[in-house]
Symmetry: C2
DNA sequence: ACGGTTCAGTGAACCGCTTCACCAACCGGA
DNA sequence: TCCGGTTGGTGAAGCGGTTCACTGAACCGT
């Protein structure tokens, strides 16, 4: 049995001070340098370290940041989680990552759980942004949303989806494509739904023939949807996928059907996931600079957790990344 | 300001019971059905929900499972995290995922943090299994290790690396390869280090010419190492990578150098990551059945957290998955 | 010598729940 | 009728910190 941990009272005893004094000393408040040193020494001696749970109960704060992922299965959210963990380290904080595994009810429960854990703030990419509990949540702690979906948050990092859509569709148009399928997925985590609006608007402007298809979430779902799409007689000359991970499904489908990319069909992604450069051909995509997004989110949440009150909205602008999955249509 | 949360005392007040009775009632203990019902009603009425922090402080347990990833950047650990989140949901538990971002000091801090959060158990894939704190940690709560690296754990899911190595090398040998490079990485998270031992043993048995190269961690590192390897005059005819993610680096390097896989060089992976089937050619690899691993880990940790005391060791056996990245050498 | 400020430190009341020891009432059995 | 054993419930002492209101001493200028 590992010897029970030292408590603050033992340290107090050892130094002949009151627990209160020890508490203050260890946090560098209100005490003379000399006693601080004495307390530090005694604490080290006893191997004392403040219990975060007790501290959380008494003070209501923990220093932790929560990251709530709607579905960690999503490649995009994986990248997000990785980046945020790394980014927070540099701020001497750390993230508690929770995964709602695609279940809105669970998302609700976990959001609450996270709040009850007294995180100092949380970063979310909501599964169901329209759910009522977000508002309430945002009122009780700083929340930074990725993708502009929540109102009343402490901050948001939003995507200029109009620009992203324009970039992709103009690119396809410039290479001669006139009929393109737009492949989204239920729970596409990257952009907000209204991206659809931009699609139709841009399609109109560019006089493109658009067909929007929504695939079930996940690689398998995207593959199946893409297979249907590509096997149809009226198959489009290009597919614009609303996430690189969806485009991967198109690659798989093309492979199954013996179609060549971009020979038989052109493909565009949306994200720029690290794997996209490794495929053959490389996936042409809309690069959202995930590093920038992560940095922005970390900056926002750290500021908010430190008490900043100004609500900020950072807009992310994408760039086009050409790689070879889009052919010029003769 | 959101109205302050109801406390157990308010519920007690409302029902005319003592806080203790309410506490028992809500956990379904020692009270008559009738009062249970009364308490439930009052709780619902007041919107009362027990505060997990206070509960943790008083009772020492939380119901949460911690997942400590040495480096979430690693594709393998990402898959693990996803699987475990999903698996735990079925057990009505949830995982707190922490990422040490490759820093052993941070790993230590986070492990401690997790314990201090009173998780009921934790699953780890250690960055530095030789660190002293693991032992102490394992004594204070149930720990399940992925990859047999820790002693004294509540359970482990270990890899039969000898079998894995044999599978890969025999496959290469059977197709005529005699000189193969083995590409590992610092911090290869999948297998335990001693896999190297198996490599040399198997190489001897199969009379293969082996060169072991260790790449820096990450895609960029693997790519660089692979480039050096493939550009050398005495380049091997095949590369066996100790993780699919490392193999991705080889693909990238081959692309850079204008080499064809498997025409100019054959490649074998180790994991079977979902993306491996999408590359061209598909990556032939050693399939570790991550689903099985996850299920095993979840079962072990759930049992241990529920008080099971028997220490279990589950051995995972791999299979060969041929896809096309290995050519027959004429 | 005196009121007025800081400075260092103390005591006790929390934070919100669990748990242990104990009790009253009720039951059936002898 | 009395006794031992359940049942349903209570009170208070924690869990291990933080914080608020307060005190005693030292220091200030006059």
């Amino acid at each position: 049995m590992p010897r029970k941990r030292a408590t603050i009272r033992e340290v107090a005893q050892a130094t002949g001070l009151s627990p209160a004094a020890v508490s203050y000393a260890l946090r560098g408040l209100q005490v003379s340098e000399e006693t601080k040193e004495r307390v530090r020494a005694a604490a080290a001696e006893l191997g004392y370290e403040a219990d975060p749970i007790a501290r959380a109960l008494a003070s209501g704060r923990t220093g932790m940041i929560g990251l709530l992922c709607g579905s960690l299965e999503d490649l995009w959210q994986q990248s997000l989680a990785v980046g945020i963990s790394r980014g927070l380290r540099e701020k001497d904080r750390y993230a508690l990552i929770l995964d709602a595994v695609g279940d809105p009810a669970r998302e609700r429960a976990l959001a609450q759980q996270l709040r009850d854990q007294r995180v100092d703030g949380m970063i979310v990419q909501p599964l169901d942004p329209s759910a009522g509990f977000w508002k309430e949540l945002c009122e009780s702690l700083p929340v930074v949303a990725i993708g502009d979906s929540l109102a009343g948050t402490a901050g948001e990092v939003v995507f200029d989806n109009r620009r992203g859509v324009t970039l992709a569709l103009e690119h396809l148009r410039a290479l001669g494509h006139r009929s393109v399928a737009v492949l989204t997925s239920t729970r596409d985590s990257t952009p907000d739904r209204p991206a659809d609006v931009h699609v139709t608007a841009e399609a109109e402007r560019l006089s493109l023939d658009i067909e929007v298809v929504t695939a079930p979430h996940g690689l398998a779902g995207a593959t199946a949807a893409a297979r249907d799409l590509l096997a149809a007689e009226s198959a489009p000359s290009a597919v614009f996928c609303f996430a690189d991970s969806i485009a991967y499904g198109v690659y798989a489908a093309a492979q199954d059907l013996g179609l060549s990319i971009p020979g038989d069909v052109s493909v565009m992604g949306y994200d720029d996931h690290p794997m996209s450069g490794l495929l053959t051909p490389g996936l042409s995509t809309v690069d959202w600079d995930i590093d920038g997004i992560v940095r922005a989110a970390v900056r926002l949440i750290a500021a908010a957790a430190d008490g900043a009150t100004r609500r900020r909205r950072i807009i992310q602008t994408p760039t086009l990344r050409e790689r070879g999955s889009v052919a010029r249509l003769s």
